[in-house]
Symmetry: C2
């Protein structure tokens, strides 16, 4: 198997591109695919300050690495979810990466902020752990982006993530989600623009990139993350991709070519109506309601924990 | 397990409807779902004469049975594909059904009309067997509809067929096919309207209906029909349906709710531009070109067979 670009020995085969690459050319391929996504969707411009949401997994660490190598000004942000060894290991990888590359990093602790664990949040809100976790992430993303004057928030979602999300949204025709099923969500008043620069790259490609770049990352999945449906959607799209390489790409980008025709109100305009109305009375962060949803969740957790205390 | 309607013992469970039915209530359910599809999409009106395309499989025979029971005026049409025992058995079931119910039936033989088999067609056209077969069916549907003064042509496509077709079209965003991915295609000059009254009913429901109504049908699949992709699409949609009953229905009908917004040109208008321009110089049937594609195929088969003769 020879590298498509330089004819040296290839180490990775990419059937969807009908290609194989040697380590050096695959590295160039990954950077150029990221740059293409950034340029095609006007995700980041030279003057931007990019806050990179880094979980400690392969995608987000690789994203931080790539954006830095492409010359963008970045700050890492890690939310320590306080989920035992999983979170300790994740945080360790993020901190090690930042210090190895001399990059600024902001770390917040969910457990410290809420005075409770993800499990406490799930119990108090009577919702799945992922629900409280997702809401907390959005809260901290906005808070830290503001605090660091970041103009763009970048996340490590890859082609597999985005295609399976699209598939799920199309199966039930969730118009609201479909309108936002894009790799670039414009800035709305007071909040940073949100972008997904890895949208052209697959899960497998990101794992290969992290491996070849020798980036240590947390391999295990979050113990709470068992979104069975997303796993099923990824599995079936994987089967289809194996039968017809390139389908995942055609599926997602074919949709993105049509999204402005089908959902002509740009998400920026839509969200403008839903723009935050002011500041939270309790934490002072940007909020849609007098008390923001994160502070309301904190109150619920506090009530739940004191209720448990009473019964002890 | 009790029947949702009458509380007698149920024989069929329909998770997507969160229901189970006894034979009598399931029969009523099948008829009412068909009637609802017919009414929702204005498929058939009282004065229509419906040509039912009957292959000899469960769906098309059940469709003919249901349409007759709903009181529509029907004529059956069967195209004998001349594929050995498979076709002999299929034709036998269709003829037996027609004579048992005293219904008019038109049978045409592909082998007689083309002077060759489906395999000869595939060889002569250098295309998959299904391609020549599909084209021949369209030719005979139009020809027989005209000859019998049928105003509507009904086919037995069910929910599984339509949902998997939609899925395949969405994966690659075939706009032209997506615009026509609907259970009703209006009449265009000289040609009958095309409808799919079983669109609300699943494969499994149709098999149960045929079983309960004791309709003998050909169980084996056409030996040429190995559209691997359609089989894969049905398989993965089946897995998703098992995990979330009702998804197939939500997927297809959610799309149908949006089709006129996304593809605002009604297919009738689109096809008007592509309406047949006259009559075929050779067979006299309606045609888009001076010699229709069926007659051109016949010529190719004739040439191929005489070429083979020379080399013998």
């Amino acid at each position: 198997m020879k590298c498509r670009a330089c004819k040296n020995k290839a180490v990775i085969r990419l059937p969807s591109h009908n290609s194989a690459f040697c380590p050096e050319c695959f590295d160039r391929f990954t950077l150029s695919q990221t740059k293409k996504a950034i340029d095609d969707y006007g995700m980041i411009t030279a003057g931007d300050h990019v806050l990179v949401a880094v979980s400690g997994g392969k995608d987000s660490l690789a994203l931080w690495d790539i954006l830095t190598r492409l010359g963008y000004r970045t700050t890492g942000f890690h939310l320590d979810l306080g989920i035992g060894e999983y979170s300790a290991e994740s945080r360790g990888h993020v901190e090690a990466f930042a210090s190895r590359h001399g990059l600024p990093l902001v770390v917040e602790s969910l457990r410290d902020s809420v005075n409770g664990s993800v499990t406490d949040i799930a119990q108090a809100t009577r919702r799945p752990a992922c629900s409280g976790c997702g809401m907390s992430k959005r809260y901290f993303f906005n808070k830290v982006a503001l605090a660091t004057n970041a103009t763009v928030l970048a996340t490590g979602h890859n082609l597999d993530d985005e295609a399976s999300r699209l598939f799920g949204n199309l199966l039930h025709w969730h118009d609201e989600y479909l309108a936002k099923n894009r790799p670039d969500l414009p800035a709305i008043s007071g909040l940073a623009k949100k972008v997904k620069p890895l949208v052209r790259l697959t899960e497998k490609e990101m794992a290969a990139y992290a491996f070849l770049r020798k980036i240590p990352y947390v391999v295990k999945e979050c113990p709470h993350s068992i979104d069975a449906k997303q796993i099923l959607f990824k599995k079936v799209l994987g089967e289809i991709e194996a039968a017809s390489p390139g389908t995942k790409h055609a599926f997602l980008f074919g949709y993105l070519d049509r999204i402005s025709r089908w959902y002509p109100e740009a998400p920026g305009e839509q969200e403008e109506e839903e723009a935050p109305t002011g500041r939270c009375e309790q934490c002072g962060e940007i909020s849609w309601t007098p008390v923001c949803s994160f502070c309301r969740m904190k109150e619920k957790v506090a009530r739940e924990l004191s209720r448990q205390e009473e019964f002890r």
